[in-house]
């Protein structure tokens, strides 16, 4: 695995040299200044889903190599399944390159290694993808994680048409060295085709993509005293598939097999000013099988998501501004299979029932304005976001609902000189819990009730969040610069604090 990673990494690194890119006349400071500013994130989603559209993302080529360190500490975990802390180192390499007037390539490679602290009620990897159909136990512990990711794409731009093709691959290994010992191996492959038509100063395009996901999940117990907990195949809101709960290897090994697709339509400007919009739909279904029992299919998770984003960016010599709105609606359905008794060594699916359903709606409006000065700019970036989650388990009936509103404001400045590019920003906001309710049967197990209740209360709680970000880049020559950046974010809810810090250093060229 490591050998393949290193080879691929070298290929990615060698790409700029092999491809003989068009020589940019701009210095690296100017290229960074043009590629990324305080307004870049507004409407960025229109470029993210299409390789062809992404060819219009920047006028300049830019590559970077960086190492970083991430630290998260929470007095009480916001989400127990993700633990109350993280310590991780990472390496990232990215390249966005216009080879000539018609061709653009993008490549990325990353390696991440770290430890999540005190993970509870989750022994699976990729919780944010698989919930609620994970494996879980009440003891948990620290979880070590190692992840590789590679991606590449090629886009061709003609006068009237543009097309692109791209793919990415992610592999992850998570494990624990004390009982219960999960060992999960994940692979996640995505590929995409996109194309579109150029008219006036816009590109109107479509993209279609596929995703193949798999995770081998296993939990072992090495203690001579026997297993210290059971593995529970969770099925949502504190429920689990009781028949297959236990510590036998028949019940602690799962295989998650997923396949999905996505389609989207994009409108992006061929210059930096103008409208950008995207509407997309994606669907992913992931089966959970028991590999030790003839691949008995336990459950299937189906996630459908509709998203849309529209933004406008205006360029001016003294003032630049952008405003954008985005929304997302996700329906997450869980199907459970009714199995026969397996008395003849085969577990036949007799019926399938949709037992879990969660609807998530998110909407956000973001604005931003940059006041251009001789030395750089000052900026303001307000944001308002609404979130609504409504989850239900069918029988015995359970229901959890909450809604929040978040208002936030970032302010900052960029200083640019011949050799230096310095960004500094400070931001903060307040999340208001608009509503929350939780219904669970009276005979719900105490531990399950506490787990679900804390999750609902944490996400629905009022909380203050603040953040600071500083980045400094110094050119060594016109093509190469060193950079160092740091960020810190904190939140406070019910007198409990959470802190996230990141530091990153590297080169840009």
């Amino acid at each position: 695995m490591k050998r393949i990673s290193i080879i691929l990494l070298c290929l990615v690194m060698a790409l700029p040299a092999l491809s003989r890119p068009r020589r940019d006349s701009l210095s690296v400071v100017e290229r960074v200044a043009r590629a990324d500013d305080a307004l870049t994130s507004i409407g960025e989603a229109a470029y993210d889903g299409s390789v062809a559209a992404s060819a219009y993302r920047r006028k300049v080529s830019l590559s970077s190599l960086a190492i970083g360190y991430d630290l998260r500490r929470e007095q009480e975990a916001m989400l127990q399944a993700e633990g109350d802390g993280l310590s991780a180192g990472r390496f990232n390499a990215e390249s966005y390159m216009h080879l000539n007037e018609h061709s653009t390539v993008e490549a990325s490679a990353s390696y991440f290694r770290g430890v999540k602290r005190n993970v509870r009620w989750n022994s699976s990897s990729d919780y944010s993808l698989l919930w609620p159909y994970i494996g879980a136990d009440s003891i948990g512990g620290d979880l070590s994680s190692e992840q590789y990711m590679f991606g590449g794409s090629y886009a061709h731009r003609a006068e009237r048409f543009a097309y692109g093709v791209g793919a990415s691959y992610r592999a992850m290994h998570e494990f624990r060295r004390v009982d219960p010992r999960p060992r999960n191996i994940t692979s996640d492959l995505q590929a995409q085709l996109s194309g579109g038509y150029n008219f006036s100063s816009y590109h109107l395009g479509a993209a279609i993509g596929v995703r193949v996901y798999s995770q081998e999940h296993s939990v072992d117990y090495f203690s001579m005293a026997g297993a210290n907990t059971s593995q529970l195949p969770m099925t949502g809101l504190g429920t689990y598939y009781d028949r297959f709960a236990g510590s036998s290897s028949d019940y602690t090994n799962y295989e998650f097999d997923g396949v999905g697709y996505n389609i989207s339509l994009q409108l992006v400007p061929t210059q930096s000013e103008g409208w950008r919009a995207v509407v997309g739909y994606k669907s992913l279904s992931i089966k959970r099988l028991l590999p030790q029992i003839n691949n008995t299919p336990l459950t299937k998770l189906i996630v459908d998501e509709l998203s849309a984003s529209v933004a406008f960016r205006s360029e001016g010599s003294r003032i630049r501004w952008a405003v954008g709105a985005e929304g997302r609606y996700e329906i997450r359905r869980g199907e459970e299979n009714l199995l026969n008794t397996g008395s003849l060594s085969s577990n036949i699916v007799l019926a399938t029932f949709t037992m879990y359903e969660c609807h998530t709606a998110e909407a956000a409006i973001t604005g931003g304005v940059e006041f251009v000065r001789d030395w750089g700019y000052l900026f303001l970036r307000p944001r308002v976001e609404l979130l609504s989650v409504d989850a239900g388990y069918r029988y015995p009936e359970r229901r959890m609902e909450f809604a929040t509103a978040d208002g936030a404001l970032d302010i900052g400045a960029r200083y640019v000189s011949d050799k230096w590019l310095i960004d500094a920003e400070i931001g903060g906001g307040y999340v208001v819990g608009l509503s929350h309710s939780l219904f669970m049967p009276a005979d719900t197990e105490k531990a399950m009730r506490e787990m679900v209740s804390s999750q609902c209360a944490n996400f629905a709680s009022d909380r203050l969040h603040l953040g600071v970000k500083v980045s400094a880049q110094r050119s060594l020559n016109s093509r190469l610069a060193l950079f160092l950046s740091g960020a810190w974010q904190m939140y406070e809810r019910n007198s409990l604090m959470g802190n996230v810090a990141q530091i990153e250093a590297g080169i840009r060229f």
Binding site: Y241, L338, L350, F353, E357, D390, E401
Partner: protein, 119 residues
């Protein structure tokens, strides 16, 4: 929020999940009782979820209950009350093991249990 709330309403059809079950006791010699009450030792347990249900009371030889569709192991110990005032106890233990569990998969289903007198 009103938009979200209306969009979040679910349409669960419980008829698909549950089965209306008639449990019919077949007493020796085709006898009919007036009423019957399941004893504490009785159980109906779904094999996958381990959920336990109760037989409740019988009118004549029949009990009606709603079960989640599934595979059921069951034991019925029942006190029978006959029109002539006789009280007897009967049992069916034909479906206590996984191999003999009963599938309840239809929207409406009848389960016939051959009873034996034990008292």
């Amino acid at each position: 929020m009103a938009l979200f709330a209306s969009a979040c309403e679910r349409d669960y059809d419980d008829r698909e999940l549950f089965s209306q079950v008639r449990v019919v006791m077949e007493l020796p010699n085709g006898e009919e009782c007036e009423s019957a009450v399941a004893m504490e030792s009785s159980f109906i347990t779904e094999y996958n979820t381990h959920e336990r249900y109760a037989f409740g009371g019988f009118k004549g030889n029949v009990a009606s209950l709603q079960l989640r569709k599934g595979i059921y192991t069951m034991l019925l110990d029942v006190t029978l009350y006959f029109p002539d005032g006789t009280i007897r106890v009967a049992r069916n233990a034909d479906h206590t093991q996984p191999a003999t569990a009963i599938k309840v998969l239809d929207d409406e289903q009848e389960i016939r249990l051959k009873m034996s007198y034990i008292r």
